[in-house]
Symmetry: none
Subunit: 430 residues, 2 copies
Amino acid sequence: MIAELVFVGTELLLGEILNTNAQYLSRQLAQLGVDVYHQVVVGDNAARLRAVLSQALSRSDLVIASGGLGPTDDDITREVAAEVTGRPLELDPQLLAQLEIWFARRGRRMAENNRRQCMVPRGARVLPNDRGTAPGLMIPADGDKVVILLPGPPGELRPMFEAHVAPYLAARSGGRPLRLVTRTLRFVGIGESALADGLRDLMATQTDPTIAPYAKVAEVHLRLATRAADEAEGYARIAPLEAEIRSRFGRFLYGSDEETLPQAVGRLLAERGMTLSTAESCTGGLVAKWITDVPGSSRYFGTGFVTYANEAKVSLLGVPEELLSAHGAVSEPVARAMAEGALQRSGADVAVAVSGIAGPDGGTPEKPVGTVCFALAAQGRQGAGPDAAALPAGAWAETVWLHGDRDGVRERAAVHALAMVRRYLLGYLD
Amino acid sequence: MIAELVFVGTELLLGEILNTNAQYLSRQLAQLGVDVYHQVVVGDNAARLRAVLSQALSRSDLVIASGGLGPTDDDITREVAAEVTGRPLELDPQLLAQLEIWFARRGRRMAENNRRQCMVPRGARVLPNDRGTAPGLMIPADGDKVVILLPGPPGELRPMFEAHVAPYLAARSGGRPLRLVTRTLRFVGIGESALADGLRDLMATQTDPTIAPYAKVAEVHLRLATRAADEAEGYARIAPLEAEIRSRFGRFLYGSDEETLPQAVGRLLAERGMTLSTAESCTGGLVAKWITDVPGSSRYFGTGFVTYANEAKVSLLGVPEELLSAHGAVSEPVARAMAEGALQRSGADVAVAVSGIAGPDGGTPEKPVGTVCFALAAQGRQGAGPDAAALPAGAWAETVWLHGDRDGVRERAAVHALAMVRRYLLGYLD
């Protein structure tokens, strides 16, 4: 079954609201095994809405339109959909009675315009709205096609979809049980082109599962997707491909599906029973914030230092003033001293430090904006558990040049800092 | 001029990403006086993309398509747009040279596939991309129409739009003078309903400028909008309404237009020549991160403490262990001791502390998830400058109950902490 989504509202065309319904409905339909080929946004204009709905019906089996079901004069979706499907509108007395009760309960007078919300195209099914005044409608069209109208507010659309539309579609696609099963592999420390180059043979020949790369900020995600009767069958088909990719790029593969880099690093720390501290200059607390985004991060994170000023690097972390004056704050020696100071003063097993030039000002020819120095200091430890080899004591420093504006440099620097901790914990840091 | 937006990417049809580019581009075009009648999302499929671009060109003067310009085989927008406009692709040697330099600077090898990103439809204008490898393209089409291709990542699309597309459109629409002029007033510490109640008379009668409230996380924004020949005329029409609103709710109005709360607090600190330090438990560095989002924040921020664990509160901030055992970490006495410790150990003029229960676990009947304690400690100072009255020395603590999930509680807590600093600096804290 091929579906098309139509979103009705001039406010969407003016950019006044973000179209979160598009993502919600698309994701729901993908999970139900329904293919969406087009999403269209159109304003509160009868002629253009008529053309959009007609075209959608001509090229899709299922049209879901949201928005424009309210009581005001610019809400025209119901009328236009009735026209396009050739079904005259009729007053539904039961709907009218319910709506009168709805208003009475809230002590409000029902406006005359609300009566329009009780008009139903002949033969359509009414979808009750528990959260608002606009009922949804499921309107049959030629050739076993259907047009479903849903209210625009996400708080009304979502419960209505889940209670009425999803069960209908699941039942209807009884003859086609295939659903989309996906696995997302998440990489850090390697670019999209390098990863695609190294997988060129697979990507060229592979049609099921499909492989699609997505560039994220300082990360690359690979999505492996197939259609199967259920998750188990889908994952069984994905597994050999995933294993092959892991054998080539496992060093950069930090997690899969919804696991974020802070979660993956937290998992490695927790598995090893180790703790982490942070010493941040240019990232200003972002690394600590990301680590503590994870519920339960108190098991492995207790102390972070935000030493934005040089005096703070000296007084909080014991960075020698001579180092600062000899090398500048953005230097490997200073980053190393920050990490060592954080390690010692926090008592953690591992400390990571970041010092860089996020811009827009402060760059020099030798150290342009985007220059960021990182260091990691560690107490070292004996092997802990089957996956965890012994880890060396010591301190490591490195410099990278990151692109982007201030936010971009800071975000990429925070990713790099976490990736450095991951490399240490897996024995890749040298 | 009528514009149509086309978004290319199967990930949008699967609901894997939220289409924030749609809102961004629509809003930008509205401000430029360009009408958008349709937005269409289509997948990485040549036949369907061809049909969508052809239809867009047939009914609109300007087509902006984003996404599908990357180096991988499923990136087909460039090729399809060249076909639809009838302009053969040619290798641009200058682009190739630039791309080789881009990769060399990053010490990465250019993949063969990146060469595709140097192909340009004959007669098209290349829009440079400072943030990534995919250049944008402005392709002339029949009848003075134009197709503009932009990269999909918002961090690349937005600067390219602002640097190249907006000036082009502004010049081209020279004959249609009315543009949207808006002023956004930003409030913290007051809810949307309370604000709307207090402005009910204005909102009921006001048609030009219009007033629209928007609820944000822990903030409310009011947008005043009018159409005028130029900004000066528009702002002159907005000014009396803005003055009336300021006279009613100025105490909660922290900034206008693009000024964020961290920027507003930073401005107040800089005006007074004062410095701030932070002591964070549940927010885990978020307050410091927000403060240092602002370029130049080193003038007023040098030191932040992330004391997620109780031991860190004791060792870094000198919070007495007795206080922790008597009241718990989430208590006004502990928050006050955190703020006082941060004030003393950082040498800052003002310190703000946050300790709360962000969840999902850790709540109790007396202190449910969302309970957050705040404190502010200050050295106090003589009056400084015309706007800055004398400020008292001392410490203040307060407790609030915030709603939302873990992220929501942390974000609302960070807003409240910054708002507390603002209240102190303006003499509203008591």
